[in-house]
């Protein structure tokens, strides 16, 4: 699976309770935020140009989500389910291999 969180992401699900009996006794968490796809916050989407990418991983380093992952071939890719489109990756990329493009929705 092409994502940073792999199986965890696949297993993540929304937890919604319809009866008080389903709630835990104390307010403790029951899952991760991986079920929350924040990709729809995005206006501009980062697009990676592998021809320019030098595999420095600066974009990976500075992604606040994190939504950038490293593929087996060493190039980076973006998990658009989570990427909010902040543009830090594009701004920090030393070779301008990432561009922010208006997203068709």
């Amino acid at each position: 699976m092409n994502t940073l969180f792999g199986e965890k992401k696949a297993e993540a699900k929304k937890i919604v309770f319809t009866s008080v009996d389903q709630y835990p006794e104390a307010p403790i968490s029951l899952g991760t935020t991986l079920s929350n796809f924040t990709g729809d916050w995005r206006t501009f989407m980062p697009v990676v140009n592998e021809d320019k990418c030098v595999k420095c991983y600066i974009c990976w380093k500075f992604c606040p989500e994190p939504a950038i992952y490293i593929k087996p071939d060493g190039y980076v890719a973006i998990d658009y389910d989570y990427c909010k489109g902040c543009g830090i990756c594009a701004n920090e990329c030393p070779t301008n291999a990432i561009t922010m493009e208006k997203e068709e929705k």
């Binding site: 792999g6 968490s29 606040p64 989500e65 490293i70 060493g74 389910d81 830090i88």
Partner: protein, 311 residues
């Protein structure tokens, strides 16, 4: 997805990720990056305490947890006290706390929760010498409540309760030097760090882990929403804060000061380089900028002197 070993070697940060995506931080949030780095450094054998702040939300609304580590949400003023209690509770039950294989007890609080309402609890924590790490992520205002000034807000900054306008009413107080207050407690290890320099930050986190007793790191973490800055500029702004010596990176270790960045032998960049990237400073007059530059110069000289005398 597992990163290939050949690539892992080339990464400048730990490959392991213990900070889940899907969190609800604003676009370009410096604080969320900071949390990501903390968990990279310490892994999941870490108990994190977060008081009221943006990270309360970032870390996940019930029933979700953004952290792949135990997390206790607590009241605004209490970070220092709660981590003291967690450390005591762990020790009482025979856990090793801090050190390479110990449980890491981490307080993660904003500047308001540290410089203002949580200052007393912070002081108590430092003074008593608990084995825990307190990280103040500094975005220079109460961002979670909607951008109000804190003790850590710099001179000249617009906030919603120090608004710039026709009558020119801006923040007229200089940034509170929380790190200096912390150092006055003469704890074993204190440092400043920036999300623009994660390798440096993680090195400092590791040092804090190895050093027995309380450690404190003040982490500069831009907030595009509150700073009225473009979301893609967060790292650039944080870098500029260091390069202008507005927020120099240094360490205080066993009584000795060490400046990491910028280079003390070189003239820092003018403060305007930092200010111009952010809308919050747009109401500042030329005189205001001079006043702020004067403060930066004074503090920078002071730090250099400290590093020279107690280096």
């Amino acid at each position: 997805m597992e990163i290939p070993e050949s690539i892992k070697k080339r990464l400048t940060l730990p490959a392991e990720e213990h900070f889940y995506a899907g969190h609800t931080a604003c676009q370009g949030c410096g604080a969320s990056l900071g949390l990501r780095y903390v968990l990279k450094a310490y892994g999941r054998k870490t108990i994190v305490t977060i008081p009221a702040c943006c990270s309360t939300i970032i870390a996940g609304a019930w029933p979700y947890n953004t952290l792949d580590a135990p997390l206790f949400h607590t009241a605004f003023a209490t970070t220092g006290a709660v981590i003291s209690g967690i450390e005591a509770g762990l020790k009482a039950q025979g856990y090793k706390v801090k050190g390479e294989d110990g449980v890491m007890v981490v307080g993660w609080a904003g500047d308001g929760g540290t410089a203002d309402i949580g200052l007393q609890a912070l002081s108590g924590f430092l003074e008593r010498g608990h084995d825990a790490v307190y990280i103040m992520y500094d975005n220079e205002a109460y961002m979670n409540t909607g951008i109000q000034r804190s003790g850590s807000t710099p001179y000249g900054a617009w906030t919603t309760n120090t608004p710039g306008g026709k009558r020119h009413f801006l923040e007229k107080r200089h940034k509170k030097k929380v790190i200096d207050i912390v150092i006055a407690h003469e704890i074993p290890y204190a440092a400043t760090a920036s999300v623009a320099y994660p390798e440096d930050f993680i090195r400092k986190l590791k040092k804090a882990q190895k050093t027995p007793g309380p450690s404190f790191i003040q982490l500069f973490a831009p907030c595009p929403t509150g700073w009225r800055s473009p979301t893609d500029k967060s790292i650039e702004i944080a870098r500029m804060a260091v390069q202008t010596a507005y927020f120099p990176l240094f360490e205080y270790e066993n009584g000795k000061y060490k400046i990491n960045m910028p280079n003390p032998k070189k003239e820092p960049k003018p403060i305007e380089e930092f200010l111009k990237l952010q809308g919050r400073f747009k109401y500042m007059t030329k005189e205001d900028i001079e006043i702020l530059q004067g403060w930066v110069n004074h503090e920078w000289e002071k730090l250099k002197k400290l590093a020279e005398v107690f280096g």
